[in-house]
């Protein structure tokens, strides 16, 4: 499974539910054929050690159609994206990409997500970046800026409304 299977930017417009169903169907088809629940993904999972996340269970639940249960759980948001599951799966599956897809579905289905993520999206839509240059302090507690450090001014998109428009289009056409 790759990034493409989960995006379908090449797809024409459709309604939102149809898009969600399609992503889910794609997920389940892939999973039902290939994942044999060996658990190797979970054994090396960086999040499993600390949280409830068990990637092999995410795979099993997605395969059996328990998508809503997964969307409503906080587990999928505890993946640290270390990519070890994708690296090590003997079947070349990518639990991490399934988890990303589930998060994308949660967003498009209007589930409550952590405000940190929505703030990041707002920042990119408003400035092109996840945050603006900060004043930081050195070890002696003196406040410093890019300018004070002699760094050149940070460059960014000149036409924000244009960028915003294209981003919104790209995002909605995919998951609608």
């Amino acid at each position: 499974m790759s990034i493409v299977d989960l995006t379908s930017m090449a797809e024409p417009e459709g309604n939102q539910q149809a898009k969600v169903d399609e992503i889910i169907k794609g997920l389940r088809e892939d999973l039902s054929h290939d994942c044999y629940q060996c658990g190797k993904c979970t054994s090396g999972c960086e999040a499993f050690i600390l949280t409830e996340l068990e990637p092999h269970k995410v795979m099993a639940l997605s395969k059996s159609g328990f998508i809503d249960e997964l969307l409503n759980s906080s587990e999928i948001w505890t993946c640290v994206t270390c990519l070890k599951c994708k690296e090590r799966c003997p079947q070349d599956l990518a639990p991490v990409d399934v988890i990303f897809a589930l998060k994308n579905i949660a967003v498009v289905s209007g589930k409550q997500i952590d405000s940190g993520y929505s703030n990041m999206l707002q920042a990119v839509l408003g400035t092109g970046f996840i945050q603006s240059p900060k004043e930081v302090v050195d070890r002696e507690n003196n406040a410093v800026t890019r300018d004070a450090l002699g760094l050149p001014p940070m460059k960014g998109p000149a036409e924000i409304p244009k960028l915003q428009q294209v981003l919104m289009k790209a995002a909605t056409e995919t998951l609608r």
């Binding site: 090449a10 999040a47 948001w77 690296e87 990303f100 990041m120 240059p133």
Partner: protein, 291 residues
């Protein structure tokens, strides 16, 4: 290679100033001119949690900007580098998708062709500039220092797309450390994650990952730890105190970007390398090897 486009992403130019300072100070010394381009934006990787197409569009957009200038890219953030690599790979394999992405790019007057290369500092230093050249430039070898290498998950995975080093046994950073006179022992936790990506919503788990790795490095007896990732550096350096509190350990590990160490070995002034901006006790490094 005598010049390269510098793509800093979001985290480096908005707060990880030490990384940017050291990059701008050290690479020209090794004969590489850095070119800033107009109108870069986020690589889109952090938005992948929300919507994968945003990642696709933004990574393609940035590559198109550099392509327009005929410049290869240096992306010193592994998270950016991985997004660029993945999007490049996908568009190579899927012409229909590339066409679709290009139809959006056209609205910003851009086109992605896929004609340029992108590098991270790891492969740029190790494979392009080369160990021999680095060794020739060393004026103050960092003798007597044993430094733990931290690569960062996105720098070496996934291995179905080109990455700067091996996913299970990366060695280039250790080789680079040896090139400037330091040692770098193997440690079991070498490939462990820093936890940065859940700091936003699961801060305690994130800081536990950070603290556990630092504790392992400290217990191993390393003199410090080096990174090549602004996200990992932020966790291990700036958040070291809270990570220590989270795991109940008293941590005092100097954490320093490799490019800063390289700068010291080339005889650069610590301040020009942003060493005063590191929050961890990096002074311990210089007292040990008397820079």
């Amino acid at each position: 290679m005598d010049k390269i486009g510098l793509y800093l992403g979001c985290l480096i130019p908005t707060e990880q100033y030490a990384y940017e300072l050291a990059i701008r100070e050290v690479l020209p010394e090794l004969g590489l001119e850095l070119v800033d381009i107009e109108e870069p934006a986020c690589c889109g990787a952090p938005l992948r949690h929300i919507n994968l197409s945003l990642t696709m569009y933004l990574s393609a957009r940035n590559m198109a900007l550099f392509e327009k200038e005929g410049l290869d890219i240096l992306a010193p953030c592994p998270y950016c580098h991985q997004a660029l690599s993945e999007v490049k790979d996908v568009m190579k394999k899927n012409p229909a998708l590339k066409k679709k992405v290009n139809s959006y790019l056209k609205e910003e007057g851009l086109e992605y062709k896929g004609t340029i290369e992108h590098y991270h500092l790891l492969d740029l230093l190790h494979d392009q500039i080369g160990i021999d050249k680095i060794k020739k430039h060393v004026k103050k070898p960092l003798e007597g220092l044993n430094i733990a290498a931290h690569y960062g998950c996105h720098l070496i995975r996934p291995n179905d797309i080109p990455r700067p080093d091996d996913s299970e046994n990366p060695q280039k950073l250790e080789t680079l450390l040896k090139a400037i006179g330091a040692e770098s022992d193997y440690y079991n936790e070498k490939l462990n994650c820093c936890g940065a990506h859940i700091l936003l919503n699961e801060s305690e788990s994130a800081l536990t990952k950070t603290g556990q790795k630092l504790e392992a490095v400290q217990n191993h007896g390393f003199d410090g730890m080096t990174t090549m990732c602004p996200w990992g550096q932020r966790m291990f350096d700036a958040k070291q105190d809270s990570a220590g509190q989270t795991v109940g350990a008293s941590l005092s590990v100097p954490v320093i970007y490799y490019i800063q160490l390289l700068g010291l070995a080339l005889g650069k002034e610590p301040e020009a390398l942003g060493l005063h901006l590191n929050k961890s006790p990096v002074g311990k490094l210089s007292s040990k090897e008397e820079v």
